[in-house]
């Protein structure tokens, strides 16, 4: 990190204190900017915050909303938990998955049990969710 000013990760977290408490907010910055957590970005973050890379990965991999692959579009998370299941979430998941493939993930309860079934498209919530509603949101939303 000889020339830190050109490090894209450094500019992303410029305003955050260089402490371990900035790790979770910093991970969100990376995800919002890059749509995913890249290995080299995690290593850069480790050096910037002074947290061992293994521990950065340990934290990053704990959370369900962070993806570690390389999505080209916003990931789609469909709640298939108890209440959404009563309201056709399994069929919704199968339908959307048939179109959008690997971008679609099953999610635990999203806290929208009053308007089931629920889905999270990138950072946007759709509830009740239909295949059309999810498609519209995926097209509208940029990469996170």
């Amino acid at each position: 990190m000889a020339n830190g000013t050109h490090n894209p990760v450094e500019s992303l977290i410029e305003d955050l204190p260089r402490t371990r408490a900035s790790l979770l907010p910093a991970l969100w910055r990376l995800v919002e900017h890059e749509g995913t957590l890249k290995r080299e970005s995690l290593v850069a973050l480790s050096e910037l915050l002074g947290v061992p890379a293994a521990e950065v990965y340990g934290v990053a991999s704990f959370y369900a909303l962070f993806s570690h692959d390389v999505p080209s579009e916003s990931p789609i998370r469909i709640c298939t938990d108890v209440i959404c299941h009563l309201y056709g979430a399994d069929a919704l998941y199968a339908q959307v998955r048939a179109v959008a493939g690997g971008l679609v993930h099953e999610s635990p309860c999203l806290g929208r049990c009053d308007t089931p079934p629920a889905a999270l498209v990138g950072r946007s919530v759709v509830a009740p969710a239909s295949p059309e509603g999810i498609r519209r949101l995926s097209q509208e939303s940029q990469l996170w």
Partner: protein, 399 residues
């Protein structure tokens, strides 16, 4: 209908306006707190008998007193808005209807215990709530010294049910894996960065704001002697009107399902089979039990149940409850942090037993559930078998 936490008459005023903050009485609450002084505030909160609304029902005044007592000059307060319990969405509805209540309560908590930094931890799946709270921070310009003296730190969760457990939440803010710590020491002694910390659920803080906006006597005028005030109940599943309803503590359960002002009647087939009360870690109540039960922890104890976070998931007679138990087991196996053996292995064994083809051995299941309940580090593992154990106690639900 009692409406204290959920506003109605002021709802024409813009959500984040100063006028609305005043109309809700929160200017009065902060002025009252300043007049009482820190010790006086804790006396009022103690006299009001507010208990934690996140599920544990711990007396709030007692928690604050133990933090205020410590000699450590650095103390913290945290609003826990990481509700991720299955079927629970009351904090989202409360914050989107009245963000000022919980925020005012947080400022009062900070003043009472002597904290200068206030943390808000919002679940990552609630982007609109996070945006709302960020906009609300502008209140420090006009809400007076109790708000102005504070530095607010907003944290967005990364999607982990266990991060809502108070010590896991502390680890999450500190940039560690959100794994629960062994208690004691409790966060009141060693919380954020080992300093004494008050962590409160959103709804608890809204209750604090109400007590200070009125007085303990006003607050205790509804509810039961042991549990004064109101409770937000999140009703979902097979009801005609799913949603969050505010009821006095001790209110009968049945009208919350049936009354047109509340759940509006059973949906689906129209015939009630059972209610899972308290969330995924909740207790099954049969239709007959639902007719008699009242919504407060003291009365629910007769059914081996508690209010928990206030979730009521309603199921009609076409639902296979064994399958629901399988889904609940999968939820906990997915959300277990894996730190302690009873929970890590126990949640997996439950999934195998509940979703497999083999005929389950009820006695073995009960022993497994009891071992998890007794030996897990935190509430997740301790309560993961709760719904199953309550099912085993109710042959009426076996089919």
């Amino acid at each position: 209908m009692v409406r204290r936490l959920l506003p109605d008459n002021e709802s024409v005023l813009p959500l984040l306006s100063e006028e609305r903050w005043r109309a809700r009485g929160y200017d009065r609450a902060l002025a009252q707190a300043a007049a009482l002084g820190p010790d006086g505030v804790i006396e009022w909160v103690t006299a009001a008998h507010i208990t934690g609304r996140g599920g544990a029902a711990f007396p709030t005044g007692k928690k604050w007193a133990s933090v205020a007592r410590t000699t450590d000059p650095i103390k913290y307060v945290v609003m826990n808005a990481d509700e991720s319990e299955l079927g629970t969405f009351k904090d989202r509805v409360l914050l989107s209807g009245d963000p000022w209540g919980p925020l005012t309560g947080l400022a009062i908590a900070a003043y009472a215990v002597g904290a200068r930094d206030a943390f808000l931890y919002v679940r990552g799946e609630y982007p609109e709530i996070e945006a709302l709270l960020k906009d609300a921070f502008g209140w420090t310009r006009w809400a007076g010294p109790l708000a102005d003296r504070l530095t607010f730190h907003l944290y967005r969760g990364g999607g982990a049910y266990i991060a809502g457990e108070e010590t896991a939440l502390i680890n999450s803010i500190e940039g560690k894996r959100p794994e629960p710590r062994v208690k004691p020491p409790f966060p009141t002694q060693r919380g954020l960065w080992d300093h004494p910390t008050v962590i409160q659920n959103v709804e608890t803080l809204a209750n604090v704001a109400l007590v200070l906006a009125h007085d303990p006597e006003w607050y205790r005028a509804v509810g039961t002697p042991s549990a004064p005030g109101t409770k937000l109940i999140a009703v979902s599943g097979h009801v005609r009107r799913p949603g969050v309803y505010e009821v006095p503590m001790g209110f009968p359960l049945w009208p919350v399902l049936m009354d047109p002002d509340y759940g509006g009647g059973i949906g689906g087939s129209g015939r009630l089979q059972a209610v899972l009360i308290g969330g995924a870690a909740g207790t099954w109540l049969t239709a007959d039990e639902c007719r008699e039960a009242r919504l407060d922890n003291e009365s629910l104890r007769a059914y081996g149940a508690s209010l928990g976070s206030g979730a009521m998931m309603v199921f009609d007679d076409t639902v296979n409850i064994w399958r629901i138990l399988g889904q609940v087991a999968r939820f906990f196996a997915h959300e277990s942090c894996g730190q302690c053996v009873p929970c890590r292995i126990g949640t997996q064994r439950l999934v195998e037993q509940l979703t497999g083809d083999r005929q389950p051995d009820y006695q073995q299941l009960r022993e497994l559930g009891e071992a998890m309940r007794d030996a897990s580090i935190c509430g997740l593992g301790q309560t993961a078998p709760q719904a199953l154990l309550s099912y085993l106690d109710r042959p009426a639900l076996w089919r």
